[in-house]
Amino acid sequence: MYNPMTQNQKLLRIEDLVLYFNSLQGPVQAVDGVDFALDSNRAVVILGESGCGKSSLAKAILRLLPRNAGTYSGHIYLDGRDIMALNEEEFRQNIRWAAISMVPQAAMNALNPVIRVGDQVAEPAIVHLGVDKAEAITLVKKMFQHVGVPEDFISRYPFELSGGMRQRVAIAMALVTSPNLIILDEPTSALDVLTQANIFNVLKRLKKELGISFILITHDIATSSELADDVAVMYAGQIVEVSDAHRFFSGPQHPYSKKLLASVPRLHGDQEPEFITGRPPSLINLPKGCRFADRCPARFEKCTEEPPMVETDGRKVKCWLYS
């Protein structure tokens, strides 16, 4: 699937992506004009609290739209080609699970309880690669090796596996069609600390050995640093900061990013973590101007207007303080 001719292009470039959901109280502006780009063999983390629209962003990229989806527009360039222009069938055959796959939230609990895990991981290969069952099982064995699941688990049912093993199976399912990009939505939030660390070791190895790119969606700032090359912070449907991981974790720019980092409890911190007062705005009744203004310690008069995205030295921040 990977085309070396497009090596110099960004793997993924998202331009002004919008996804609103219809509701009785008005449109829910879950994804409200998102721009970002991802290079090959890199991992970007979409960092944000519950309700900021990050899971909806994943659905928007993979065109997994629910029935109440309203406005859906923008451009998604995969290897230079705008996949938003593809029709349903072309998207299903060539993009979804073929070029971009996903490990959704709580995937380990979404495995079909009455089908053996080997057969479940084989299914995308049979459907999208058109291989027969025997060849698919060979692929499954290879994927299990990549993610660290013992081969004899192929004939087991999900209930026979621990949570960590089931999550590895879900990752194997996303890998089996050899996609270029995998979207992971909260891949470790329900797992114990050692299991979490093991899963991140698996993801790091996949990135190194198979050259896969990742979009990691999470609220967990600490574990996000295990995989992230780049960080995009999402707040109330918008991306408010984009930066490489190194500069982000050592010095975030946006006031919200600063507060997020300050709220993380540390093992050896003598510093008391702060918390962010107030709540994110409803995605139905969004305030005018900067959406973070009412919780921002640095707000001033200009903040009643929508702030621009300011780019300096390869970092972007949506804040009047930097314009």
Binding site: S50, V193, P265, R266
Partner: protein, 340 residues
Amino acid sequence: MSASQAIDIEKQEGSRKVLLSIDDLHVWFELRRFGFGHAGYVKAVDGVSFDVHESETIAVVGESGCGKSSLMKAILGLHKPTDGSIVFEDKDLSKLDEKGMHWYHSHVVGYVQQDPYGALPPFMNIQKILEEPLIVGGIKDKEERLQRIHKSMEEVKLTPASDFLQKYPHMLSGGQQQRVVIARAMIMGPRFLVADEPVSMLDASVRVEILKLLRGLQETHNLSVIYITHDLSTVSYFSERIFVMYAGNLIEKAKVRQVLDNPLHPYTVALLTGTSEPDSKNAETFKELPPGEPPSLVNPPTGCRFHPRCSKAMMGICDVKSPPDFEPEPGHLVACWLYE
């Protein structure tokens, strides 16, 4: 001298009264094959001893399957000990009759559950949810109940209370729901709280807020708290002592700073290695972790239960005999042959 100053001095002198004493506790569950015929035991808690003092917060740290939920349920009086004892002040829990257990549940222990979304009944509004323990606890006067409800809403900072009391759980955010769970646990004025992963279902940025609230309540009410978690990064903000649990045993017991700065047991070291802090260098390194998974509690390994996964295991010793507690530094106990 203020009450809190007096408490501080007492803490320093280590002369706090023992509130809860757990002595060689075993909680075993019988496995039955096809409804009859004994097939072994799940040895969820297999010889656990510790004391909880007045106004003290202790953390029980362990992963899924280590037995901490069974330990917690035994402390809550929901499982009868198979062996050993749980003594609150001078009362042995297993000897309490129905009235005694009712008193214990209503007036002694408060339970803060893990999943606020699951812990609050969706068909009751906040007022009814908070009224329930008061009714069960025997507060017959409606006015008094309302007063207590308002007071507890203030304590968990869900104000103005009138904004929340008529709402249903699904109308609140995760953090607000967890505050209601805490209010419910506190409303009868318990002597100690059992908090089972109280913040793990909440966003990382909200966790600290809730833990600080719990810490404030603990100080105001002279409460003891047993904080059960697998997340070591929160422990230093909210506990004085840590007990690390693995496969039914407590393998390390010490003050929080002792464990975080100088972890002794190889499993504790692994837990600390596995805990991430926000640092971009993490993406460049692989974590060195013990292979395998925690053992089955039906047939735990012989000797030290961690030995099959331990890089420092000494064959002939660790796989044969279960280690007792050693004390390599004062107040720091570890069940590991490396410290003999």
